[in-house]
Assembly symmetry: C2
Homo-oligomer: 399 residues x 2
């Protein structure tokens, strides 16, 4: 017998992504095949990332999983689907041959995963989480192929987090899902001026989870069907062109329209689903007043399945718009932590802007603003001290 | 010369109507021709009505108009359109002949109109208002024909207030609008158990008026186009059948779906239009929990271009649901005036209903509940003491 490695460990990080042409609804719930293609911007991991360590050892007696330091159910069907698919690919790659250095596929697995952002923020943590899980497992088993199809089995939008920059998730046509893949439209260096402001809204718990919500939409919303069949194919082509041209006017307008249409199909669902709140409405109205004042699209909002706003803008508008948000939603406390992430300069608002754009302030409605930009896809963490699991295969204490 | 009548006066009342298959969007803004047919329930005038007196006299020197006691602009194009159309029909009816008793078409007109409900309630006052104006003018000029086409020129949905009970507004095909008419589907006596609860929500001023809003929707919402062309024709036929069958399950479900879809097309408009607020969302969620608890559709909501909820239900559910609303939205003051209109019995809520349906109360969110039912179309007021104008042709003091 060849000497198999006793303990192997790999750590990766992976990003969150925000769709500007939205995905909502599966045509196959088991394989997670969408009813329409979608397109997203990968956000920078300096601000929002998941880190995952995967370890395999002949000494492990069972598969185990820890999320943000707490043990979780490793038997979750989606975790199992990712694990099974990665092992299947590893087996296929090895073919009939024996690779002495290869990790045994029969070893049990320990996985630890952490986010560097509050999960309460309602950001797309499952996309980053499953992209990171698949990346770490792939490293562990020495896979080098394109794995968006595997990440998709964890969470649909996770497939888009397998690439940096601007990413399309192709709907695909085949019933087995092998052509339902993510593809990079442009790298994160393509549009250096693009910036992202995440407005984290204080609020209630999400009323309806995405998985349940989107299936109800598929079953009950006639408008969602029309959106998927007719509207999205046109919009996807337009959005790719706007990105290629770095046309912020076109990009921003279409991002807002598509966000609104996604929430419209939620409302057309029966019973209806609401992710936007009165605070979201205030942010939307503010963005339109701000753009109206400037006479063109300076900021564009996009809302996922929650009330938080993601604002796309260009670097030269950040300071002014952040000040507009601060004046519109004065921070509840002293405001020290109101702006986080990339530095934001200070801006004085011209009186005519104040008169045209600001209305009655809504104190405390926005908890904080996170300033970030497009970023790269999953990264390997080389430094062993960064592993989330210790040499014993258990989570390191993070004191 | 024949002795023409010196002063003539006629007073009518007309009802509000609530669409259960909604109208939103014109294909001809001048003639007020809709992009889709619609269907409404006429509400009883004991609770909600407009009263209008129209007078003509050779002594009047100019046309004048008073709304709720205040003089208003009689030159408003829609008021003028109704006046012009009524006079045209009167002229046509008389043909070449001279009718000594007929009112001179050259006399100036005085009009006074009042609502018996607060206009601040955001109820469809323009539908009742224009239906009433046209009814009073028709009486004044002795017209007896179907006049929904004329009322439509005042406000699209006014044509539906020209009939009691259940009323369809046929989209029509002709470019001149002569086939865009209201038709009674069933009289108000057809479904004696049907009840209506208007939940008047405290709130802000309507953000976008219907006239401007619907044209923006027609221009920018791809979903509205699909709704008008594909969804509404099917739904209209279904809704007529539910009404004929007095099938509350079918009627209520479809009314809710159609209300939601109308608001979905508002959200798909660019910039988006929001008429539903967080309070509206609370009412919607409450209705679904209530129906869920009972295992079938006991109440159905419908929202027009504002946050107020119109609840359809059957007589035997009124007392219980009113108590559910009272517990969910405890009245801000002592609650004396919380329930208005038709009498409502008292109901004790079973503990299992309380546990399943009630959540954290939102005090003061609903101002009051108006209890009403389907009612008849415009009525002639025979009693001369009820005229809103005095013998001098000026508004009576309403001390």
């Amino acid at each position: 017998m060849a000497a198999e490695r006793a303990l192997a460990m790999a750590t990766c990080t992976a990003p969150v992504n925000i769709a500007v042409i939205k995905y909502w609804g599966k045509r196959d719930t088991d394989l997670i095949l969408p009813i329409n293609s979608s397109l997203s911007v990968t956000l920078h991991q300096d601000q929002l990332k998941t880190t995952t360590t995967a370890a395999a050892s002949r000494d492990f007696t069972e598969d185990r999983l820890w999320l943000n330091g707490k043990e979780a159910d490793v038997g979750h069907p989606r975790v199992q689907a990712c694990l099974r698919e990665v092992r299947r690919l590893a087996r296929k790659r090895r073919g009939g041959g024996e690779d002495a250095a290869a990790l045994s596929l029969s070893y049990k697995i320990h996985i630890a995963s952490e986010n560097n952002f509050p999960t309460a923020a309602g950001l797309a943590s499952s996309a980053a989480g499953y992209a990171c899980l698949v990346s770490a497992l792939a490293r562990l088993y020495g896979l080098e192929e394109e794995l968006s199809e595997v990440a998709r089995r964890g969470s649909g939008s996770a497939c888009r987090s397998m690439f940096g920059g601007f990413v399309q998730w192709q709907r695909g046509e085949r019933p087995d899902g092998t052509d339902s893949l993510a593809l990079q439209v442009a790298p994160e260096t393509h549009w250096p001026e693009l910036r992202v402001l995440v407005l984290v809204v204080s609020g209630e718990k999400k009323p309806v989870g995405s998985t349940a919500g989107m299936q109800t939409s598929v079953e009950t919303s006639p408008l969602l069907k029309h959106r998927a069949e007719v509207v999205v194919p046109e919009r996807l082509a337009q959005m790719m062109q706007h990105i290629r041209d770095r046309d912020f006017e076109g990009f921003g307008q279409l991002a807002m329209r598509d966000s609104n249409q996604f929430h419209a199909t939620c409302l057309d669902t029966f019973p209806p689903i609401f992710y936007l709140t009165d605070v979201s409405r205030h942010i939307i109205a503010l963005a339109h007043r701000y753009n109206g004042h400037h006479g063109h699209t300076k900021v564009a909002y996009s809302f996922d399945a929650g009330p938080n706003a993601v604002i796309f803008t260009l670097a030269d508008a950040v300071a002014e718009f952040v000040e507009v948000v601060r004046r519109s939603f004065p921070p509840a406390t002293n405001g020290d932590q109101f702006v986080r992430g990339l530095p934001v300069g200070s801006a004085a608002l011209p009186p005519e802007l104040v008169a045209a754009v600001l209305t009655e302030p809504v104190p405390g409605a926005v908890q904080y603003i996170l300033h970030t930009k497009p970023g790269p896809g999953p990264q390997l963490v080389d430094d062993p001290s960064q592993h989330l699991l210790g040499p014993d295969g258990l989570p390191r204490s993070r004191a």
